[in-house]
């Protein structure tokens, strides 16, 4: 089997240099931003039948993908909002790529939702989340971007909450994290505006260096899952409905990568090292997981680590690689969550140690999983191999050896954990036999179309290269060195899993930073709530007291004035009655003359 792959790869070696594919462009309607179409569908969704609503959802998101593909670069829509110039959408290489993949995977996920019995309300929240994410990546200025960024946090929280149960508390922690991250980014953007004088991306090269850049990095870092800020990721994503997980796995983190690229267009070494750390830490924790979706969630952190490293390295090849990886990762990660969703829905079990032997029971799902696993692991011939290779090559070209070797090690770990996933879920002999309903047509169409795209882009990467920002001139995915690298990593993965299989099954899921952070969040929040409540009680008392007094004074203003005035003038103030503060005619005339006199004295 590997012989066939290498033969195909060998012919492709000749092709891969400059992109030979050019993307057709066409006149597209630009009166309204693409995000608004999706949001409009989200709004009417709860009132439609399930079939019609989901069909509209597929059309709208698919339409965004086609629109993004055809829109010529440089298309934009600028408006003036309260005196600030805002660009509601702006098509360039970055946003085009994001629009294509967000739209495509949105359509696949809505189809998957429909066939996974998702209710209309959940899909409406999901479409709201998709729409705000599309708005974020198409924004042409920081103000619009932050606006949609915050909305994205809100809609994704609602999507998590919609499932109820355990998802509620996890959604609450998710909301706190993203509220903090969004606020930091907002402060950074305001600071940026204060020093640049414009919100437009075109007004400056990335975000202003110094404190704004640091704040933006940490704020966006929450979204992409910087090590230490990542605990919301495995905490939240395994809990909601299986179809909701597909949406969640795609948008938040990848929008973060996009934001990072906007803020740091020339890269940043610290961010590159952070990316490498994320890749390694994420994969180590993934290896220890037993819950399927929790394992996949840690892999999001790990894979996003590659992208963050690519953005951080900042060369043309690295940027292209990072965005190629965004594109590919969205495909195979959504596919993995879809297959995991089918397994959970059919077997009613999400822990690997209770599964096994599903390969025969769910053949299409197993096939899709195999494609996705080979893609994420970076096996030659699948799309992950191409984009990962571009990032590691960029690290190598820049002589960032530390990053290079960490990324390779993470690659081995990825192979190991997906061999583990596949072995326990599909291959291992199970104690009983599964008597399961197979996946339904809609799920199969969604999974197989994404899977075929994974393979197609793995064999023929030029199709993707034409879309990428940065430069793919130095991308040579199918050289012998790279191919060898891929096979060696795969072999190491197999050997590693064979050796570590026993000990791994004995070790628990590991102690993540959330062991510290969750109690800290819990007690911190409790302390905060108590402090705020106490403070509120005090303030409330003062305000109520003050209001009572002022209302009393307002109800009887003359009475309120009488006391102090009486003390001042010396009389008992009894002659100060209702109406006596009104100026008489004589007083009025006197006032006019006084003002006139003062004005003339001043003027002359």
């Amino acid at each position: 089997m590997s012989g066939a792959f290498s033969a195909a790869a060998a012919t492709a070696t000749i092709l891969a240099s400059e992109p030979s594919v050019s993307i057709p462009t066409a006149d597209v309607p630009t009166a309204i931003p693409p995000a608004f179409v999706v949001l409009a569908v989200a709004l009417v969704m709860p009132f439609l039948s399930r079939k019609l609503g989901h069909a509209l959802g597929v059309l709208a998101t698919g339409g965004v993908a086609v629109w993004s593909l055809l829109a010529p670069a440089g298309t934009y829509l600028s408006v003036t909002f309260l005196g600030f110039d805002a660009v509601l959408f702006n098509v360039d290489a970055f946003s085009k790529l994001m629009g294509v993949i967000f739209g495509f995977i949105g359509a696949a996920a809505v189809l998957y939702s429909y066939s996974s019995e998702a209710r209309n309300r959940q899909t409406a929240f999901a479409l709201g989340y998709v729409g705000t994410s599309i708005g974020t990546v198409f924004a042409g200025d920081w103000l619009t971007m932050v606006f949609f960024w915050e909305l994205m946090a809100v809609t994704s929280t609602l999507l998590v909450w919609d499932y109820g149960g355990e998802a509620v508390r996890a959604g609450f922690r998710y909301a706190i994290y993203h509220g903090l991250g969004g606020s930091l980014l907002m402060v950074a953007v305001v600071w940026h505006y204060a020093s640049v004088g414009s919100f437009l991306f075109s007004a400056s090269d990335g975000i202003v260096v110094g404190i704004p850049a640091a704040l933006a990095a940490v704020g966006i870092g929450v979204n992409v899952g910087f090590v230490g800020l990542h605990t919301w990721l495995p905490d939240t994503y395994p809990r909601p409905h299986v179809a909701a997980s597909v949406f969640l796995s795609v948008y938040t983190t990848k929008t973060g990568v996009y934001g990072l690229a906007r803020a740091f267009p020339d890269g940043n070494l610290a961010i590159a090292y952070m990316g490498a750390a994320m890749a390694l830490v994420g994969v180590c924790y993934a290896l220890l997981q037993d819950d399927m979706r929790r394992l996949l969630s840690y892999h999001i952190q790990s894979q996003v680590g590659y992208m963050v490293a690519g953005v951080g390295i900042g060369t043309a090849l690295a940027t292209a690689g990072a965005f190629a990886h965004v594109f590919n990762h969205i495909l195979y990660k959504a596919l993995l969550f879809m297959t995991a969703g089918v397994v959970i829905a059919r077997a009613g079990e999400q822990r690997l140690k209770y599964l096994g032997g599903l390969g025969r029971a769910l053949p299409v799902t197993a096939l899709a999983f195999t494609v996705a696993a080979l893609s994420i692991s970076g096996f030659p011939g699948f799309n992950g191999f191409v984009s990962k290779g571009m990032i590691t090559a960029a690290a190598h070209n820049e002589h960032l050896d530390g990053i290079f070797y960490i990324l390779l090690a993470a690659g081995v770990g990825t192979f190991m954990s997906f061999i583990k996933f596949g072995y326990y879920a599909f291959l291992k002999e199970s104690k009983g036999t599964w008597n399961l309903k197979r996946s339904v047509t809609g799920q199969r169409v969604a999974m197989l179309s994404v899977a075929s795209l994974c393979v197609a882009l793995g064999l023929y990467p030029d199709a993707l290269f034409a879309l990428l920002p940065g430069s793919t001139a130095d991308a040579h995915p199918f050289t012998l060195g790279h191919l060898g690298e891929g096979f060696v990593l795969a072999a190491l993965g197999v050997v590693g899993f064979a050796i570590l299989k026993k000990p791994l099954s004995k070790v628990g899921p590991g102690v993540d930073v959330d062991a510290v952070i969750e109690p800290a969040t819990f007690y911190g929040m409790r302390g905060l709530v108590r402090g705020v409540t106490g403070l509120f009680a005090v303030v409330d008392h003062i305000v109520v007291d003050l209001t009572t007094r002022s209302l009393r004074a307002a109800a009887d203003p003359y009475g309120a004035v009488r006391g102090p005035l009486g003390a001042l003038v010396g009389g008992d103030g009894e002659n100060l009655r209702d109406g006596s503060l009104r100026a008489s005619i004589a007083t009025s005339v006197l006032l006019v003359l006084v003002v006139l006199g003062a004005t003339l004295v001043g003027l002359l």
Partner: protein, 514 residues
């Protein structure tokens, strides 16, 4: 050249005679004449506006005597907009007055005379002519205030007459000073000749001081406002709505023209104290007016003091002297007229249902008159400056302009005034929506009428034949409801199209701030 601009003044004056001439023959002559005049005025204002939109600013020499010796009428974006505002407010008040009264032919004569005076103020390009129109406006207003039956109304009218006449006289004196020093009364001509005399000439400075103080009396800035709350509170509701919307507006507009068309921003550069003083006067007016409004329990007095504050804000916008702030002042001038007229009609209408017009009387009124109450609340929040209503657009531009001009004090005052405005309106809206209606209001009626009260607001409209005779049928007329709702919708719609309003004012201000 179109004669429509002159007819804006002539038509209401001529029709003002109709109620006097034919009133004895037919009782409703007055109302009919007023409706005809309002519609004709609207048509003429639209003609003028379309002409301005097509060709920009144009002038009209009255009687073909060429300016600067003849009288010149001027139409540009600002005056055309305000002329349109006069038509709309006149139409609305005339519709409202059909049921609300005062039902006398004399009232309609006075109203049409006032319409003519205000229209004249908005279109004239001549300082002395402006004085004449201000006096027509003033005299008609004194008469209208006195149409209230109460002795208080007569006293208020007298007070207004004395103080207002002093204000107008000061203005005339100022015009005299300018005439002595320059030998001309035409605004455009004055703008050219005053620099020749010199901005620091004592004659010019005195003239400016007299004119501004005179107009400040008319616009009711603190502490020259003393006539205004009495006049507003004691007049009939239709009169209050009309004069609150247009009379002070005319004075503030005159102030705008005199500062920018006659004295020009160059004067501000030469004698900065002049506008500094005006900014301070206006800022004090905003704060004191708002505080006094919070102290009132009578809603009409509250709205009257609110006008003191809002005109302070408008004049502050004019006195900041940059294009953004002046634009804000003009937007607020138009917006305030619509919102305040609507609010006064609303108070008048709701007071009929509540049986009184203090804040406490309005408790629980929202249940008895849901439509009018909702429109009133919308107008209240529009005046507070909640987006997207027009109140926000005006205040926003004023604050923005103040910050641009480095007048942080004005920006702070505007924000503080917003909070105080919220304070006095929140108090009313809270009573309207969240308090129970006082028990005795329904207890003295029959025991079955508690439920009926809720229905009167919606059902009273249709029967035109039988006069409502019993007390509990004192609902809200359809006319009043329509006027308040249209005002509320207008305030919001105007806010949504504020950008277009800015575009209309822009060419006018560009000339002044080139």
């Amino acid at each position: 050249m179109t004669d429509a601009i002159a007819l804006l003044v002539v038509v209401p004056i001529v029709l003002a005679l109709a109620p006097i001439a034919f009133g004895r023959l037919w009782n409703r002559t007055g109302w009919l004449a007023a409706v005809v005049a309002a519609l004709a005025h609207l048509g003429l204002a639209l003609v003028v506006a379309s002409q301005v939109a097509a060709t920009g600013r144009f002038t009209y020499a009255v009687g073909d005597y060429a300016p600067p010796f003849g009288i010149e009428l001027v139409a540009d974006g600002v005056s055309a907009t305000l002329a349109l505002l006069v038509s709309v407010v006149t139409l609305a008040v005339v519709i409202y007055a059909r049921r609300a009264g005062p039902d006398s032919n004399g009232f309609y004569s006075g109203l049409l005379l006032l319409t003519a005076g205000i229209s004249g103020v908005f279109v004239t390009g001549d300082l002395f002519n402006l004085y004449v129109f201000i006096e027509i406006t003033g005299l008609a207003t004194y008469a209208l205030v006195a149409t209230g039956r109460s002795p208080d109304a007569a006293l208020s009218s007298l007070k207004y007459l004395l103080v207002g006449t002093i204000g107008a006289s000061l203005y005339l004196l100022g015009v005299g000073y300018l005439y002595i020093s320059t030998g001309t009364l035409n605004m455009a001509d004055l703008a050219a000749t005053i620099p020749e005399v010199g901005y620091d000439s004592p004659l010019v400075l005195t003239g400016f001081g007299l004119i501004v103080v005179g107009l400040a009396v008319k616009a009711a800035l603190f502490p020259l406002h003393t006539w205004q709350p009495d006049a507003y509170a004691d007049s009939p509701d239709s009169v209050t709505a009309y004069i609150s919307a247009l009379v002070s507006t005319a004075a503030a507009y005159a102030l705008f023209r005199i500062i920018y068309a006659v004295f020009t921003p160059a004067f501000d550069a030469a004698a900065p104290f002049a506008l500094d003083a005006l900014v301070i006067l206006a800022a004090v007016s905003v704060v004191v007016g708002s505080v006094l409004a919070v102290l009132q329990s009578d809603l009409k007095r509250m709205l009257a003091y609110s006008s003191v504050a809002q005109f302070g804000l408008i004049v502050a916008g004019f006195a900041v002297a940059n294009a953004t702030a002046v634009t804000g002042g003009l937007i607020h001038l138009v917006g305030h007229a619509i919102m305040k007229a609507g609010l006064f009609v609303g108070v008048g209408a709701l007071a009929g249902v509540a049986g009184g017009r203090t804040v406490d009387d309005f408790a629980g009124i929202a249940d008895r008159a849901p439509v009018t109450s909702a429109a009133f609340a919308v107008l209240a929040f529009a005046l507070v400056g909640v987006p997207p209503a027009v109140g926000f657009a005006g205040k926003w531009h004023i604050v923005l302009g103040a910050v641009e001009g480095g007048r942080w004090g004005v920006a702070v005052v505007a924000v503080v005034s917003t909070l105080l405005t919220l304070a006095y309106f929140a108090r009313v809206v809270e009573r309207m929506y969240f308090r129970e209606a006082p028990i005795d209001a329904s207890a003295d009626a029959d025991d079955s009428t508690v439920g009926d009260n809720g229905a009167t607001d919606g059902t009273l409209a249709s029967d035109g034949g039988s006069e409502p005779s019993s007390d509990d049928a004192a609902g809200i007329s359809t006319e009043a409801k329509v006027v308040v709702v249209v005002a509320a919708v207008g305030a919001v719609v105007l806010g949504l199209f504020a950008t277009d309003l800015v575009a209309v004012f822009e060419p006018v201000l560009e000339v002044y701030f080139e």
